[in-house]
Each structure stands twice: as structure tokens, then as C-alpha cells.
């Protein structure tokens, strides 16, 4: 099984790492970039496929050169075998459409030059853009089937089909099981969790971890960067020019006004405590 995982860098929104200016705008320069958390789930799904069926996992990202660190993280934490970064100035400011077109070209080049891909995994959505469109649009561009909201995955390599449990949200959440032919795009639901119920799977997992640690130490040797020329992309159809949508403005969410006044009373303040009891008395039932 050869899997590709699409992954993007996002600002590290965790406490202590993220930085906002006075107006509540994100300060990208001061906030470190990390792998999009949902992509870790997608990588987990790819890893499960590799552990169970063997094969290869490639991390692919479109973004600035700094995203190399995100791909390195993908290798380190989720054991990707190698990395491809689609990066140059012409690609800057792509919206989801232009991103999908670019990713699709990258994947097609990969198929021509490296190997046929069986599965493309993408995350549910990113922590910053949050559109959740990139995966489906990439599937559309590739003209591949797509299964979204995947909770569990079972692959039959001989029949070349996958069986997935997927979450269907509605009045009541339901889980349905679907089948799809390979190759296929899979969007992992944030609730997806890989399972390793046999000793040999766990041993394989452990072996991969050891192998990856050595590999991730010199990530650069396993990283290939392609620019728009490598991808044979017309600058008019990518980046800002190729993006039909524009973010016109971003408004910080105003702080909610407080509706009640708080009075602070120290435990030692007897008068104050008397007042509390009086106030509470109004709510006490019975006599």
C-alpha cells in the first residue's frame, strides 16, 4: 500500500505559544508553526495501513519553505517515509481551490515519477483556515472517489477495496459502513483512532518507530521540493491569481460584555457574610 498524507502547517494555538496583537489579530511572525492537529489523525490512519499491510507513507505539503519542519514532524511523530514540499512564491496566497489544483499536480507528478498511489489521506480541517475543502477538492481534481468522516478503516489489498466506518451527522449521529475502490481519498474524522490488536502489529509499529527516529534525524535527505515549474503549472491558475476567493477582511471577535456585577467579600468580613446569607435567603425554599 502506498499512501500520501496531505499536511499543512498552522499557527501553534496552544496556550503559551500563540501570540495576538492589541487588536486581537494573530501575530503569525511571533507564533510558531506546527503540524495541523487533524493531520496527525490522517497520518495515524496512514500509519495503521502501513503497519497492517506494509508499504510506504509519503507526507506532502504545499506551503512556504518553513513547512519543511512540519513534514519533519510528520516523519518523527507518525513515521512518514519521505516528504515532498510544493513551494515557491507563485504559490503564495492560494485559496483552497488553488491549493487543491497544486496538490493534485504534485500527486500526478508523484505517480508519474515515483510510484502509483493507493490512498490519499487528508485531515478533517485545519486549525486556521478551517474550511475542510482542500481534501474534497483535491479528490475532485484527481477524479478519485472520496470517503469523508472516517472513524475506522479496513483494507482488502487483494480485492483493492477499502471498507470504512464513517460518521453521518444528523439529528442522531449514525455510523455507516461504506466500500470504495482504490485508489481513493480518505478524510479521517478527528475521532479516528488506529487500533493494533495483534502482537505482530504492535511489534511492527515498534520497529517502524525505531527506524523512523534514525530517518527523521536527517530529514533533509528525505525531503524533495518541487516548484511550480517542476509541477508544470501556469502561474495564472495558481497562487493569488488562481484563487477565485479572497479573504476581504478579518474581524476579531469582540469580548462579550459582562452582564452582572460581582461584589467581593472576604471570608472574615462578618457584615459582608451576613449580606450573602440575606441575599441567598431569597432563594432558599421551605420555611
Amino acid at each position: 500500500m502506498r499512501s500520501v498524507v496531505l499536511t499543512k502547517g498552522v499557527p501553534d494555538f496552544s496556550e503559551g505559544a500563540v501570540s495576538f496583537d492589541e487588536d486581537g489579530h494573530l501575530e503569525r511572525g511571533k507564533t510558531p508553526t506546527v503540524m495541523n492537529p487533524n493531520d496527525e489523525v490522517a497520518l495515524g490512519a496512514a500509519l495503521q495501513t502501513k503497519v497492517r499491510h506494509g508499504g510506504h507513507v509519503t507526507g506532502v505539503s504545499m506551503g512556504p519553505p518553513g513547512y519543511a519542519s512540519v513534514l519533519e514532524e510528520a516523519m518523527e511523530s507518525v513515521y512518514a517515509d519521505d516528504s515532498y514540499l510544493l513551494s515557491d512564491r507563485e504559490l503564495a496566497a492560494s485559496d483552497t481551490w488553488a491549493t487543491a489544483i497544486t496538490l493534485c499536480s504534485g500527486l500526478e507528478k508523484y505517480q508519474e515519477e515515483i510510484a502509483d498511489i493507493d490512498l490519499v489521506f487528508a485531515g478533517f480541517k485545519t486549525a486556521d483556515g478551517e474550511t475542510g475543502q482542500t481534501g474534497p477538492q483535491t479528490a475532485w481534481a484527481l477524479e478519485w472517489p472520496i470517503v469523508t468522516h472516517v472513524l475506522a478503516l479496513d483494507i482488502d489489498p487483494d480485492e483493492r477495496v477499502l471498507r470504512a466506518k464513517r460518521l453521518v451527522e444528523g439529528d442522531i449521529d449514525e455510523i455507516e459502513t461504506v466500500e470504495a475502490p482504490l485508489p481513493c481519498v480518505v478524510i479521517a474524522d478527528p475521532e479516528f483512532s488506529p487500533t493494533y490488536r495483534t502482537a505482530s502489529h504492535r511489534l511492527t509499529h515498534k520497529r517502524l518507530r525505531t527506524e523512523t527516529q534514525a530517518r527523521a534525524a536527517d530529514h533533509e535527505d528525505h525531503l524533495t521540493t518541487w516548484n511550480h515549474e517542476d509541477l508544470n503549472l501556469d502561474p495564472d491558475y495558481i497562487g493569488l491569481d488562481g484563487s477565485p476567493t479572497i479573504v476581504s477582511s478579518v474581524d476579531p471577535i469582540p469580548k462579550a460584555p459582562s452582564e452582572r456585577d460581582a461584589t467581593m467579600i472576604e471570608p472574615g468580613d462578618e457584615d459582608g457574610m451576613g449580606q450573602v446569607l440575606e441575599e441567598l435567603g431569597a432563594y432558599a425554599g421551605g420555611d
Partner: protein, 565 residues
Amino acid sequence: MATSKRTRADDEYEHYEAVVVGCGPGGAAAAARFADHGVETLVLERGPEAGSKNVSGGLIYAEESAPYTIDDLFENFREEASERPVTDYEIHNISGNKVKTYDLTDLHEHDTEWCDAVLRRPMDSWLEQRVHEKTSETGGGVLTDVRVDGLLRENGEIVGVTCDELDPITADIVVAADGVNSELARDAGLMDWEDPDEWFQGVKATVEMDAETIADRFGIDDDEGVAHLFSGDLFDDVRGGGFLYTNEDSLSIGTVFHLDSLVAEQAEPHELLDSLLTHPLLAQWFRDEYHEREYAAKLVPDSKKVAHREPYRDRLVLVGDAAGQMQAQGPIIKGMNHAVSAGALAADAYVVSRGNADPESVGRRYTKMLERSGTMEKLRPRRYDLARTVGEHDAVANAVDRVLESPIGSVAIGNPLSKRAMKLAYNSPFLVSMLPDTATGYVTLPSIIGEEHGRTIHWDNEIEPPSLEERIGELTYDTDVGNPHIHLRDDSAEASGAAVYACPVSAEDFGGGCYRSETVRANGSEETLVSLDTQPCVECGTCAVVADTDWEHPRGGKGVEFREG
């Protein structure tokens, strides 16, 4: 595909030739030996890393007469996994502030090729890596965070193991090296958790002390180490003793008591440890500085009583503590070395019996090897069985104690001639192995020796050991919230009250421990009931014996995690 290779055609389960449960010294030795023989071996360990669940004193012995020693099986063990060799060995007989010290080097060196102090987290995790390397080469490996929760049976016959975390696994040979609280030995009906008389409880503090200070205070070089034992009246009437061993940059200080005696005296284990820590004799080493890195506890089997003479059933064999193979040779405690011998012998037994249609041929062969190598005789000395029937008889014991305590007895022991005789007696492995388990050996005799021959210690020991609450606070837990691993079957004080004091992380009048007793009024009468909260549990096994519980280990990776051991 890797999986189908191992799945037997007629079987839905994954199959390994050998499954070893537990990666302590016993399991590590078995697995290493299997790998040497080319056997495909899977090792399952419930801790997040081997050693994270384990506690010992710990001196690991390499006996000259042993069939295997740990450095036979693991190259560079001493250089890479142990702390310091023991170059000086003493026992202190204590009576109040009076102490008489005997050099025990003769006893210690008897049959000893070498002996090193170890800490179990670093030692066992080192072993785990070596074992994983070795077993990977023969198609297996070590998996941590996996708890085996029972035996897999087919038509009533043991054919493998079941786990919380994995699907059932079948094997041609299952080695239970799962330690003193072996769930597998119980599942197989080979051992039980009934009689406190068959167990010791060990409690230990690992104490910070840098190498320079150790050199200075104990007067030793980097490649030297000391072992001190303590007995006498500092533990009141509880039968047992204390130890202090030097590590590279810490001290291991602890106590080992007969569990029945702890229960009978209603003693608090942490207080007994504190009695040792705060004794004036220890002031010379602490000099009022005391920083405890870790507090830990574990049951210890008494091989004289429980070492199973035929530790097998079907294709299951027990090794180490799981089989009760823990020898208390007087004050010297030998468990790790025997676990190593037994583990290696079990693997050898499998290899010579391979192909025999009768699954129990391995167990029979292993039993023979334990006997022929002299291991079983060390574990269950015949002469002890003889001496015990006389010595532990209450009437006789009391009579002996009365004579010893009488002016005549004291004079006899206080006699300058007996001074030498006593030291010789202590150093005789023969006599020591015959000592009956009465207060005489542990309390009366050492106190009298201390009293009659001892010199008075005038140092003040001002250290304050941490409280139980602080000790628990320092431990690392990954609590399995909502899924306690011990259930109280009977919460009456009669059935389970002993756990309130005998549990090393509980105490009378302490609300933050595992066991608490509370008085409830019902129908006009008062009743004392016992309640249990397993969160602070250090998984020592004590309450499995002294209380009425359903006792299991936590799921893989959950529960307490020792860093020193």
C-alpha cells in the same frame, strides 16, 4: 504479510512459539535464552517500560553454584546496568541506642562470584532493550503497556494467554515471569493469596546522595559499595529487618517484614521505615540531610514456604517470584538471581523437550533442572522443613525466648566467648538457613546482642522523613479513572481491616491513602467499615493477602510508575 505467517491454519489466534509474561529478571533471562536457541519469542510487559513496576532492595548475586548468572546472559550487565559492587557487608544488632556491629562479609561472600547493588527501573529497562534486540532477531520482541489478564484454554487445557490490549495469543510454551502477584499462577491454580505467613512485605526509600558524598561518608571509592543490615528492637516486635545499600548516586534504604507479623502487631510499614531512617546510627551518613527520591513497596514470597515444587501446568511454567522462588537466607535476600536461573532453565527445558507430544514434558524437565542444579534445595532447604516443625512451635519458641531474655541467657550471650561464636553463627549459611521464623532470630537475639555487646550511639538523628501524603504526592501515576483494579469483596473490619495499617500507602487516621476505616451507625449500633480508593495504590499485593478483595493489576501502562525501583 507478517501476520499470516504466524497464524496457525486451524486457529483464529495469533501464535508465537514462546510467550513470556513479564520483563523482570526472570522473564528477561527466559527470553534471552529462548532467543539464543532461535525460538520465536514474544515478551509481554504491563509497565510502560520494564522496571517501572518493580521494586527490590536490591543486591543481585551471581552465585558460584548457580546454573546461570545474569552476566552469563547479558554481556556488560555489570558495566551498564548495575550501580556498585558490594565490598563491605555488615549487620547491626540494635537495642535502643546500643549497637553491636558484625562484619558479615563471610556470609555474603559464601558462594558469591560477585554481587552488585541495582535500581530496578534502570536495570530492567536496560534488560528490556537487550531482550528486544535478541528476540527481534528470532521473529519476536518485547511489547510494553500490555497486561496479560488470564490464560487461554482450549478444552480445559492451557494453550496461551489473553490480554486487555491484544487479541488472545497461543503459544507452544508460556512462561509466567509476572512476579510476586502473579495472576497467571493463580489462574492456573498453582499459587494462592491466602496466608500472610507465606509472605514478606518490603518497603523502600531511594535517597538522594551524590557520589562524592557517598565516597566521603562511607569511606569508599567509586568502584566500591557497602551493604548494612539492621535488626533488633528498633522495629518493636515486628519480625524482619532493615537494609541500606549504596548506589552510584543514591542510597537504597528499606525494610522487609513478615506479613503475618505486620498484621499481628498492627504495624504501619511507613512508620517502621521511619524508625530505621531516624535511628541515631544513621545520623553518621545523613548528617541531617535527607531528600527522598522515591517511596516504594512490594510483597516478597518466602521460598521456604511457597516455592512451588512442581511449578507448571500444561504448557505453562512459572519462574521467579511467580513460583515463589525468593530465598531469604537469614538477612540475605536472594530473589533476582534465582529468577534468572529459573528463567534460563525454563527456556532450556523447552528446547530439549521440543517436539514431545505431551505438553507437560517441558514442565517436568524444568522441575528436574531446578532440582539437579541445586536451585530447589536453596529455595526449600530440607533442613528448614525439619527445624521449622520444632523451632516455630509456640511453646518451644516461647521457652527459648524466655531463656534468652532471662539473666542467664543474657549472660550466656554476653559472655566474651560467645561474642566470637555469635559472629561465626551469623556468618554460617547453614545455621542462618535454619533460623526459625520466630521473633527470637529477628528481635530477641539481636536486641540482646546489642544490649550486651553494643556500644552506645550518641549521635542525634534530626532528619524528618516525608509524611505518607508527601510520599504519595511524589509518585507518578497514570490513573485508570473509573476502572479500579482492586475491588473490596467484604468491607467489614474483621475481613479487611488489616489493610488499613498493612497497606504501605494507607494509615489509621489518614484520609489520603487506599484503605480507610470509618465508623457508621446503623440500627442503634456502631460498626466499623473499610473503604478503598485505589488511586494511590503502589500495586504491592499486600491487600490481596490480608483483605478480602478481587485483586488484579491495572490495565497495561496504567497505575503507578516507579522511576528508581
